[in-house]
């Protein structure tokens, strides 16, 4: 208007700041990992080391829960979908067939180690010895009544009502959401075993498997079980803050936070490195990485990432993940796994 040069300068400045869109942009040049919050600490450590040691970019890791991860993973093949989904349980047949329906027919499975599911409370809270029966009675939505065949809504409000000898405090358990593999394994290993101790429920397993599972694996929803997000650090923090609450999470988080929380014994066994490794601790499960074969060789760095992931310095008995609380595989199993990955062996579609 009265000053043309000012106008011109403004224009040039706008152009200089214009986002560089269009063809100059590269495609996705990093590995994209989703999945379990239990495996998240391991996945991020491997990703970070990989990013530092190699010339590739650091993979992007998101904590979505095992089930949430599989849903993203199985949505299809292509740059918009994750290359890897890690999981704190084995992939389900239903998930594998969902994958296949979307064209994800070839999936490579890598078992990276074991992990226990712990039932922990704050260091300042009393030590507790639990049985799986206690856990079932405290957390199931419906529990068997006095008469065989009778099912009543869970009446227990305090631990001492579940079994005399347990602390006289309100039942308050922080646990993972339905997207979580830890939750799936917890209901299948801890709760289901606890409910099998009722004879008539056990007998249902053959006659009415669906009803049996529903009785054994449904968590209560009256507020005693508090659902958290896919963030296990948060559970540890909340436990430290609230000595009355228990939390359900992976052993590795206990291992990294032993100065804040402690685990209850389950059926008399304390979750320790050795007790989980040799199978004495009853609630333990393997951890996995699942990789889309179609993406190998197409996404920069994915092949090298798999080498780093299965390398002895990562998963071996002295590997750096062991420092992070991973319970390593037996040497032979790790080596055969490494060989299977480098040969890109895929899971049979029938599932298991």
């Amino acid at each position: 208007m009265y000053n043309d040069t000012r106008f011109l300068l403004l224009f040039v400045a706008l152009v200089a700041f214009a986002p560089r869109a269009g063809l100059a942009q590269s495609g996705r040049d990093y590995v994209y990992i989703v999945g379990s919050s239990t495996v998240y600490p391991f996945a991020t450590v491997v990703a970070e080391r990989f990013g530092r040691a190699s010339s590739f970019r650091t993979p992007k890791v998101e904590s979505t829960g095992s089930g949430g991860g599989f849903r993203l993973f199985c949505d299809g093949i292509g740059v918009d979908y994750p290359d890897i989904s890690n999981s704190s349980r084995a992939i389900k047949a239903s998930e594998l067939s969902a994958c296949a329906q979307n064209g994800v027919t070839e999936v490579i499975e890598v078992k990276i180690g074991y992990d226990g599911i712990v039932f922990a409370n704050a260091l300042s809270a009393p030590d507790v010895a639990l049985t799986r029966r206690d856990i079932y009675l405290a957390l199931a939505r419906d529990v068997p009544g006095d008469v065989p065949g009778e099912l009543i809504a869970n009446p227990y409000q305090r631990w001492s009502e579940v079994r005399p000898g347990l602390p006289d405090q309100r039942i308050e358990v922080l646990g993972p959401p339905p997207t979580s593999g830890t939750r799936d394994e917890f209901v299948e290993l801890a709760m289901a075993d606890g409910c099998r101790q009722f004879d008539w429920v056990r007998e249902l397993a053959a006659a009415e498997p669906d009803r049996h599972r529903r009785i054994c694996q449904t968590l209560r929803d009256d507020g005693a079980f508090v659902q958290t997000g896919e963030n296990d650090n948060l559970i540890v923090q909340k436990l430290e803050a609230n000595p009355r609450a228990f939390g359900i999470f992976g052993f590795s988080f206990l291992d990294q936070n032993f100065d804040k929380v402690k685990a209850a014994t389950i059926d008399g066994v304390l979750p320790t490195f050795d007790a989980i490794a040799d199978g004495r601790y009853p609630i333990s499960r393997p951890l996995y990485f699942y990789i889309k074969k179609a993406h190998v060789g197409m996404i920069p760095g994915l092949e090298r990432f798999l080498v780093e992931l299965t390398h002895e310095r990562t998963l071996g008995e002295e590997g750096y993940l062991v420092d992070r609380g991973l319970i390593p595989l037996p040497a032979a199993e790790r080596e055969s796994g490494e060989a299977a990955v480098s040969a890109l062996e895929v899971l049979p579609l029938a599932g298991k």
């Binding site: 919050s37 803050a241 609230n242 197409m298």
Partner: protein, 460 residues
């Protein structure tokens, strides 16, 4: 030719068109200084020409930038060898991604097929850019030609330019309305999907919150309970505690700065409050977790009280201080708006300062202060980070400030962080909560703002 150069080209075009239009007008008007023969100042003819020259290419450019990548990739895919054409869409997508990566890397890929495709991609990209530049120049020239034909001494160039600017201004104002509508539409759309699964009455009046819906058919999960009353009560409890801090401290400090403080003290006290207002909420949250919660716990235990470490009290107290500046600045404004004549009248009758403040000024300023308080309540209800970090997750229906409660915003965050699919009642519940939050705060805001405005008008 990259986008930046094309934009520079357009800028050059604009300047050229401007100079051209202006000189054309000047020539028509009979040389420099002959503006009186023209309808508008010569510059406006320049601006008009520049607009004619730049707007059409700019529109094409925007569309081009939006679709270019897709079109180029589709063209590339069509020209690929047969064995690649036979790939599934996903695999093709991966191949194209490698092409794009190879194109942005300096080296030539080893695989000959990939190398050929990369070359093709780059050359397609180049042609696309040349085509775009050509189109921009042609359109720009066309615009200039059109301007040339319209420019004559009686042409209302200024009005044309001003109309164009006016439309831009109206569009800009529309963005605000669009945002409001967008929030309502987006959030209610997802919330409606939630209410297909869960009845409205359960959501509004249920007393249990336990959002655990199964995510797979073969997963055993309960249907979940979606009663929001415990969340609402928790939100209210924390908001009430916050207001119990913010109202007295805020109003009294406003009284001090408005009624007592000398200009110098005022210049010292206001910044303190302003800094409090400027601290990000995540910092308040960190402070609440790290310092306030443990203090309250220790104090409570020394009194023999059973205090939850994530007590509503800790979150509420810190939130209260966060809100103090809001209450205090709105109250300060209201108090200072009370006409001096009222105050002087009271002073002449021998009232003390506190009597003036409490009996005269406060009632007169009350509507403004109430409006400010309503806005503060709305802020307390919608505050997220402090409660995410310092409040609990357990949905207790409790009004005990020493208990741990959860809030609407905490649950929205817990449900949505990490989850990415909007197809289970669990995730959709977050949007239903968001809608409730939006409606409650909107009502508070509208009423609060109404008070503040009506009060302003009364004394203006």
């Amino acid at each position: 030719m990259d986008l930046t150069s094309i934009l520079l080209l357009l800028a050059g075009l604009a300047v050229g068109a401007f100079l051209f239009g202006r000189s054309r007008a000047q020539a028509l008007g009979g040389g420099v200084g002959a503006a009186r023969n023209l309808h508008s100042l010569p510059d406006y003819y320049g601006y008009f020409a520049a607009l004619c020259a730049v707007l059409p290419p700019l529109m094409v450019l925007t569309l081009w930038a939006a679709f270019e990548e897709r079109v180029v990739l589709a063209l590339l895919a069509n020209g690929l060898p047969d064995h690649l054409q036979a790939l599934s869409p996903g695999q093709l997508d991966l191949f194209l991604n490698s092409v794009r990566n190879a194109a942005s890397a300096a080296s030539v890929p080893a695989d000959p097929v990939l190398a050929a495709a990369t070359d093709e991609y780059l050359s397609l990209g180049r042609s696309s850019r040349w085509l775009l530049s050509g189109l921009a120049v042609v359109l720009g020239a066309g615009g200039v030609a059109a301007a040339w034909r319209s420019i004559h001494p009686a042409f209302r160039a200024r009005n044309r330019v001003e109309t164009a600017i006016r439309w831009f201004l109206i569009a800009a104002s529309g963005v605000a309305v669009l945002t409001t509508v967008g929030i309502l539409l987006a959030v209610s759309f997802e919330a409606l999907r939630f209410f297909r699964d869960v009845s409205l009455s359960e959501f509004l009046f249920g007393t249990t919150w336990s959002p655990q819906a199964a995510i797979r058919d073969d997963q055993i999960g309960s249907a979940g309970r979606f009663g929001m009353l415990p969340l609402l009560s928790g939100t209210l409890l924390i908001a009430v505690i916050a207001m119990a801090v913010a109202i007295p401290v805020g109003i009294l400090s406003a009284m001090y700065t408005a009624e007592y403080a000398s200009t110098r003290v005022r210049a010292l006290a206001r910044p303190v409050l302003e800094i409090l207002a400027g601290i990000p909420t995540v910092v308040y949250g960190f402070f609440a977790v790290l310092m306030v919660a443990p203090w309250i716990r220790t104090i409570g235990e020394s009194l023999g009280l059973n205090v939850a470490a994530e007590s509503a009290l800790a979150a509420g107290l810190v939130m209260g201080f966060m809100i103090v500046p809001l209450v205090s600045s709105l109250s300060d404004e209201a108090i200072r708006a009370v006409p001096a004549s009222i105050r002087e009248g009271a002073e002449a009758l021998g009232a003390t300062r506190s009597e003036i403040a409490l009996d005269i000024v406060l009632p007169a300023a009350m509507p403004g202060i109430v409006g400010g308080i309503l806005l503060a309540v709305s802020r307390a209800i919608g505050e997220t980070m402090i409660v995410v970090m310092a409040a609990g997750l357990a949905a207790n229906l409790s009004f005990n400030p020493l208990e741990s409660v959860t809030t609407v915003t905490v649950q929205i965050t817990t449900l949505l962080v990490g989850d990415q699919e909007f197809d289970s009642a669990r995730t959709l519940a977050a949007f239903a909560l968001g809608l409730v939050l939006f409606i409650i705060t909107m009502l508070l805001n509208v009423v609060g703002l109404g008070y503040v405005r009506r009060y302003r008008e009364r004394y203006e």
